[in-house]
């Protein structure tokens, strides 16, 4: 290769670099239409895809403007961490209030009283924790007590990183406490036995589902109710059964505006409208269709409502003193989970 040709090659490389730069700049300029970023937890991918399409349509009809909603999904705790580290979320829709509290405390981008700004503890829908077992329930799993029996393989994500896993843990705790008439020592014994049966702790609910359904590990998956139904749809309802325990927990996955970010980006109006939209009958019907329990059941298709069984539900506020108390007590460093979970050697 002569020197001239090398030079030309160098020129081409520079031209490519310049082109790449221009592309990057135009990509930035395109952001002029309203663009929202919804940072959410793991199992809501399908739900928000449907909600976003419906909202974009409504916003266009109402204001004539185009809105694009970007999604980011992952374990609830991990997602909160990314927002704390600077991910420019307009709204956060996480698995539990504790994770949004963490953003509020560490960044001051969300006011401390965020949960009072929207109806129903800022939760447009609720859900609960159920068991997903293999078809015919070969291990005869009927209630929480059966999970701690020897030889039962339990799959749940890690409560340190996953919101759903924390609801799993607290539901198990509530059942054991009730079954043992409030005896704390026996409750701990049960939790330790339950987690001795857990062989894989995935970081998020979706990972745990894949472990159970696709890789075929374990006898029972502790899952969000919505995720349990979704598995039936994706992998074939004939392969799994859903077991509803005698007692579970009212899981409230809340939503909030990230005030610091929307004010900096000038997207407050659209972001607020997006959150308000979640409470409209239209969105509530979509929510029920995706197996989440809507706040306004009357808006949903009665056929969708028939899937939700009545379960005795404990709540985080009444039975655990809210997330501000439950989070450090059970999931903080040295909390009950750290004390009771011994990884297999």
């Amino acid at each position: 290769m002569t020197r001239k040709r090398l030079r030309r090659l160098f020129d081409y490389a520079m031209a490519a670099l310049a082109l790449a730069f221009c592309l990057a700049v135009t990509a930035g300029a395109r952001a002029q239409t309203v663009e929202l970023l919804n940072v959410s937890y793991d199992p809501t991918r399908e739900l928000y895809r449907a909600i976003n399409a419906a909202f974009a349509q409504e916003w266009k009809a109402k204001t004539g403007k185009t809105v694009t909603i970007r999604q980011s999904h992952g374990g609830s705790g991990a997602q909160a961490r990314t927002v704390i580290d600077g991910l420019n979320a307009d709204v956060v829709t996480l698995a539990l209030g504790g994770d949004i509290d963490a953003i509020a405390q560490r960044t001051k981008k969300i006011p401390a009283d965020w949960q009072k700004r929207l109806p129903n503890n800022a939760s447009p829908y609720t859900s609960t924790i159920v068991f997903l077992v293999r078809k015919g329930n070969p291990k005869g799993i009927k209630d929480w007590g059966d999970l701690a029996k020897p030889g039962v393989g339990v799959v749940t994500p890690n409560p340190k990183t996953s919101g759903g896993a924390r609801w799993n843990y607290l539901a198990a705790w509530a059942w054991a406490k009730k079954a043992n008439n409030g005896d704390e020592a026996k409750t701990r014994e049960y939790i330790a036995a339950l987690f001795a049966n857990v062989s894989v702790l995935d970081t998020g609910a979706r990972g745990a589902t894949t472990t159970f359904a696709q890789r075929g590990i374990g006898d029972v998956l502790l899952a969000w109710e919505n995720e349990a139904y979704l598995v039936g749809e994706e992998f074939g309802a004939e392969k799994f059964d859903i077991v509803t325990p005698s007692l579970s927990i009212l899981a409230e996955p809340p939503v909030s505006l990230v005030d610091g970010n929307v004010d900096a980006k000038g997207t407050r109006e659209a972001a607020q409208a997006y959150l308000d939209f979640l409470y409209t009958p239209k969105a509530q019907a979509i929510i029920a269709k995706h197996h989440y329990r809507p706040m306004k059941p009357e808006a949903a298709d009665p056929k969708d409502m028939a899937q939700f069984k009545t379960i005795d539900l404990v709540t985080i506020d009444k039975d655990f003193g809210g997330w501000t108390k439950a989070q450090p007590e059970h999931f903080g460093d040295g909390g009950t989970f750290d004390q009771l979970y011994k990884p297999k050697r």
Partner: protein, 297 residues
């Protein structure tokens, strides 16, 4: 398997003396070794590679194309190409500069610089990503200043490019350095004595001598830049259609039970790997002499 043939043990000298026997045995051992290598390659490389394409085309050509033409998938392809288009040239410039100053000059701390170039190879990619979060994240050292000046690095294109440059920067330098060292400084000294400028010396003497090494480094660097997962996943923020590169998009699709689309995108990455492999083999075959200073081929 006969370990005696693999490592002739001094305890049994009699065996070594029997030449015919050793040769007979070594032929058997040879066959076994080849068989093991082939089976291993088939299981560890061939089967997974085949499964990528089988899964991708499981529901037919149309579904495959549909998976690739999804706007988010296209955005991921675009982002990946853009990141490589920035990271690779930067690393070529850096690699040439680093190799040049190490090979042609004597200075204090040269050994330190040489080993620093290898650092990205020895650090886990997750850490490479996290250090950028610690530096440029909202809670990081420069976070508040960046925020005040409206500069986005983490969870945006610059962060992804930075992380990619970091994990891929040894490739070019590592390929070029041994070539430059083996050529020595005599040619350059001659050129300089004849009155050529430093710039001209570089273009007419140094670069032509190492061009195949540079090309080889670019190839490897590009393959890694497009395939990097760990470091990029830490700084990406996983915003669909905006900050997900192809490897990240594969994971997202897989987690959405969208196996066909996931493997369709994965098949593009696999194709890239195959093309790289072919080009690499061609280079090695055609220009073995020029690359031989590398000592790796």
């Amino acid at each position: 398997m006969s370990e005696a043939a693999l490592t002739p043990s001094p305890a049994r000298p009699a065996r070594r003396a029997g030449g015919a026997r050793v040769r007979g045995e070594s032929r058997l051992v040879q066959a076994i070794l080849i068989a093991i290598a082939l089976v291993f390659l088939l299981l560890v490389l061939g089967l997974p590679l085949a499964s990528v394409f089988v899964e991708a085309f499981r529901k037919g050509w149309d579904v495959y194309l549909e998976g690739l033409s999804d706007p988010d998938a296209l955005a991921a392809v675009r982002l990946t190409l853009l990141v490589a288009a920035i990271a690779v040239p930067v690393n070529v410039v850096f690699g040439l500069a680093a190799a040049w100053c190490i090979a042609k000059y004597e200075f204090r701390g040269k050994t330190l610089l040489t080993s620093l170039i290898d650092l990205p190879f020895s650090v886990s990619p997750v850490i490479s990503g996290l250090v950028y979060v610690l530096l440029f994240g909202a809670q990081g050292w420069f976070g508040p200043w960046l925020k005040a000046n409206g500069v986005e690095i983490i969870f945006a294109l610059p962060g992804i490019v930075l992380a990619t440059i970091f994990v891929t920067f040894p490739f070019v330098a590592r390929e070029v350095l041994p070539l430059m060292q083996s050529h020595g400084t005599a040619d350059e000294e001659a050129a300089l004595t004849l009155g050529a400028s430093g710039w001209r010396t570089f273009w007419t003497i140094t670069l032509p001598n190492v061009k195949w090494g540079v090309l080889y480094g670019v190839l490897l660097c590009n393959a890694r830049a497009m395939g990097e997962f760990g470091a990029v996943s830490v700084v990406s923020g996983r915003i669909r259609g905006l900050t997900t590169t192809m490897p990240l998009h594969v994971e997202i699709l897989y987690n959405e039970y969208n196996t066909v689309a996931a493997f369709a995108v994965a098949s593009l990455l696999a194709l890239l790997a195959l093309v790289t492999l072919v080009l690499k083999t061609l280079l090695e075959w055609r220009y073995a002499d020029h690359l031989s200073a590398n000592g790796k081929h």
